[in-house]
Symmetry: C2
Subunit: 360 residues, 2 copies
Amino acid sequence: MARVFNFSAGPSMLPETVLRKAQEEMLDYQGTGMSVMEMSHRSSAFSKIIEEAELLLRDIMGIPDNFKVLFLQGGASTQFAMIPLNLFQKHKKADFIITGSWSKKAAAEARRYGDVNIVASSEDRNFSYIPKLSGNPFSRDADYVHITTNNTIYGTRFPGLPQTGDVPLVADMSSNILSEVYDVSRFGLIYAGAQKNIGPAGLTIVILHKDLIGNALDMTPTMLNYKTHADKDSLFNTPPCYCVYTAKLTFTWIKEQGGVAAIEKRNREKAGMLYDVLDNSKLYAGTAEQPSRSLMNVTFTLPTEELTAKCLQEAGKEGLVTLKGHRSVGGMRASIYNAMPVEGVQKLAQFLKRFESENS
Amino acid sequence: MARVFNFSAGPSMLPETVLRKAQEEMLDYQGTGMSVMEMSHRSSAFSKIIEEAELLLRDIMGIPDNFKVLFLQGGASTQFAMIPLNLFQKHKKADFIITGSWSKKAAAEARRYGDVNIVASSEDRNFSYIPKLSGNPFSRDADYVHITTNNTIYGTRFPGLPQTGDVPLVADMSSNILSEVYDVSRFGLIYAGAQKNIGPAGLTIVILHKDLIGNALDMTPTMLNYKTHADKDSLFNTPPCYCVYTAKLTFTWIKEQGGVAAIEKRNREKAGMLYDVLDNSKLYAGTAEQPSRSLMNVTFTLPTEELTAKCLQEAGKEGLVTLKGHRSVGGMRASIYNAMPVEGVQKLAQFLKRFESENS
């Protein structure tokens, strides 16, 4: 079958050039006579891969030298525990802004190891917006403030970053890392599962200020202590080598595209095309409030379940797949991560307009 | 370059048919129009992959119904913590047989959460043997007994399993899972990183008796609780999907080879070829004591560093690579996991004999 335009919320599309390179090198990586899957993580060939992956990521994200980059396993869900276990260094207290079920899960896990203060939440309107903060709502004695920069399920995104003063800002960036320019120095810690904008599931990237390393709670399992991995440059144990390799290919692709700024420009255009359709439609209703709209996940509903099912089915026939919305929101969701080509979004926009004209 | 015979201790060779299949399906898995890397872990295509992987593993290992199979992340090193956190249910005490640096690490991590009793150790002779046990040396109040069935670094293997009565036997099988027939019902829990006999690094397989699930210590992070993953059939969060897919391909390959019994027969022949060379040599000295010899890792030394270097270099020229011994033992190590073809071992055996005749 021809390649489809896959609007999955994650794992999701990878750049075709990345897949073709991986395919080409599958049995023989650059003359080594072996696959990257078969390579010792202590070999010179793999050392070069992981070092280059880090350098590329530092380059395209502009990561300052006083930040450490870690290639870990376990997904964002493991970070939900690692963050409090490592960052509850003084008052065992964290401030959370709750913007969806993932930030709720992160807060619930942190609460097991200390105090959690909910600074703001948008649960009152099914997480359809990012709460506005007034004054300085953060606790003075918080060890960190946690946000989820993009909310895959609800199609929202922080339009700006909260001012947290001296308190480290911790961000779950799983669904929008590398999709727009962020000033890394504004954060204490950024974490992201790879499976949306980076590579295959099984790799978790953590970027954290060096000052946050080395004061984990006593009970912290060795593998959940950032220091364990920081001291060994992510080679304390065998890392998810093939995921790191694929991530490196994606970072190279981002650089070739002109870097994150160029990617952001294209992402704004892509999202703009779909929001234009929604804003000029009598059939589709966007579920996220306008200033909080995500660049990655465009969520919308149709008037009836029947129309939704029909729309999904007809889209599928045109190679526009995995558009079903999450059950918490219903309707449809188009996830348009970095690797979704402009053509895919154009085709979807055209399809949606045609479907509306045929069903009004 | 032609494919080499890669004697790496891990990550290590995969069956070429597995790599070719992965290569072939890289851009389009069975007509879905997408790579397995791009597929939602909730999709029907991936559900089928993970279900088939489990069924195949249950089939080839003969896993009883009262055991749960989990596909996790974090490597054996994460299990070093998960095991005590989940199994210290009664007396917070475990018995360990120490047969190398990995079992030492496992014991050290367990000691952070309870009492560890060292039943036996072979550290006195640099772990060159598996200790013999007399009588019943195990603690009556131990929550589990821990062994490492095969010791990659030292080239040793448990020739039989200890009798632990009612106390669950826990085995790190990272370096010899699926290489020989084990009666799973003898164990309480088996764990293994995938990167030797199964697939790419980043997947950890845990097979455990259902009775051991559900009584984790209070402090246990959600992601380190077996119950979390058991309740959701390893889909609590996004699993390392591509590793699971590759594992499935390897399990299929094992079945096609005639199952684990046929693989064991071939492994015994392969190891026999190399031990024959060592036993008839005046140049090479095996480092593991005879009854404890590994079927997976054949470790041996040469009289001088210079000869070792020369041997490694000349082997490399013939496409026999990654034969350097671990620094704790020195010399050379041939890791001959399931995927190492008989031809690779034959070629190495012939090379070693020729090298000896040329250098005596």
